[in-house]
């Protein structure tokens, strides 16, 4: 089926089988920030935005994204870099595999709620798994970022 996608603002037309998911479509188009983790909507590493909402791309049928606005981390590098500086300053990053999905959740949260409490942050990130860190470092980084943002 012919599907017209709008990826990070660029119109892209692809041919997709009915059971193709966006994870595969996006990776084959070269958007390699989108990772395959559990492939069962449990880990968060394949998270992308569709019309501003964070979704797991491993379960989102490509056909359903016809004429929808898709955003991957490639399209949000400036915003991501600002937060990433706090995360790397805490020495959290080890393998980095979860980072793009984690960042996509975080950016969706800040779009909805620019000044969340740490409880709201933890609730929002509950679906993003990281096997290296134990999450404490990320939480410290986000707390510091929010503190600075608050001014």
């Amino acid at each position: 089926m012919e599907v017209r996608l709008i990826i990070n603002g660029d119109p892209v037309t692809v041919s997709a089988s009915p059971d193709e998911v966006l994870l595969d479509t996006l990776r084959s188009l070269g958007y390699k920030s989108v990772k395959r983790g559990c492939d069962s909507t449990s880990c968060g590493v394949c998270n992308i935005h569709i019309n501003g909402k964070v979704v797991p791309s491993c379960a989102y049928l490509t056909v359903r994204a016809h004429e929808q606005k898709i955003t991957t981390l490639e399209g949000l590098q400036e915003q991501a870099r600002e937060i990433a500086e706090y995360i790397t300053a805490e020495g959290v990053e080890q393998c980095g595999f979860c980072s793009p999905g984690y960042m996509m959740s975080l950016l969706a949260l800040f779009q909805e709620n620019p000044h969340p409490t740490m409880d709201q942050v933890k609730h929002y990130l509950a679906g993003n798994m990281c096997r290296c860190s134990g999450f404490e470092g990320q939480h410290r980084a986000i707390a510091k970022y929010l503190e600075v943002k608050k001014g």
């Binding site: 089988s17 069962s40 979704v55 379960a59 359903r64 679906g127």
Partner: protein, 246 residues
């Protein structure tokens, strides 16, 4: 999961016609559980373009479209507390932006937090062909013939709450519980580990009587005794809160 053909009907009649024509057709809600199934489906019917993603207040309560996502439910302050709270720990927010309320109902999942709450809220299901059906009837018997869930209506309640025990924040519940008050109290326990059941009580006096109306069984995640102890604790906490419901 393999899909041979996917249709995106523009009207409910069209979707229903396709469902009746092909007895192996499957309705697509959010597609989260469908994705996990190891089978080939000849026809998947996508309901995304039928405008079933609205939450509306009605004179009796509210009407929630079958394609409303769990995240929409979570953030809509107009909905009963029990319903908003029960979706908060179902996967992460990304999953809840995809998973639909209709999909949570139609799977008749024994572990469902949503079904336990809909039972306690005396909800009704609205089908395209069969019309209105109490959620209890559907939970017990399922459907006689293929049909499409259009929406879920919930009458006004004076108060409601949900609680569950999850070993990990986004885990499946070891046991879940919901209670509401309208004229009477409606109480339900689910994931015990069987499908949720509900009872009605005039008063919350005899907690042993309430607990003895439910079956708490063993599985590899927990024993029946453990589930019953959790259930008792949830019920005791709820009774304190329920005193405030006028």
């Amino acid at each position: 999961m393999k899909i041979k053909e996917l249709s995106r009907p523009a009207t409910l009649d069209e979707a229903y016609g396709q469902l009746k024509e092909n007895d192996k057709a499957v309705i697509l809600g959010g597609g989260v559980f469908l994705k996990l199934q190891q089978r080939t489906i000849p026809l998947v019917i996508d309901l995304a373009q039928l405008g079933l993603d609205k939450i509306e207040l009605t004179p009796d309560g509210c009407m929630i479209g079958a394609m409303v996502t769990l995240r929409q439910v979570e953030i809509d302050d107009r909905l009963p507390d029990a319903l908003r709270h029960c979706v908060r720990q179902i996967g992460g927010i990304a999953l809840r932006n995809l998973a639909t309320l209709g999909g949570s109902v139609m799977g008749r999942y024994p572990f469902s937090d949503v079904m336990t709450v809909l039972l306690a809220l005396n909800a009704n299901l609205h089908f395209h062909k069969s019309g209105k059906m109490p959620v209890q009837h559907f939970a017990d018997k399922g459907l006689n013939e293929a049909d499409i869930l259009v929406g879920i209506s919930i009458p006004h309640v004076k108060g409601s709450l949900f609680s569950a025990y999850k070993p990990v924040y986004t885990d499946f519940s070891l046991v879940n519980f919901a209670i509401s008050k309208s004229e009477k109290y409606t109480i339900s326990f689910g994931a015990a580990p069987g499908r949720a059941k509900r009872i009605e009580m005039e008063a919350l006096a005899d907690l042993e009587l309430i607990l003895s109306s439910f079956t708490f069984g063993d599985d590899r995640r927990a024993s029946g005794d453990y589930r019953r102890a959790l259930a008792q604790s949830m019920l005791e906490d709820a009774c304190k809160e329920a005193k405030e419901w006028k």
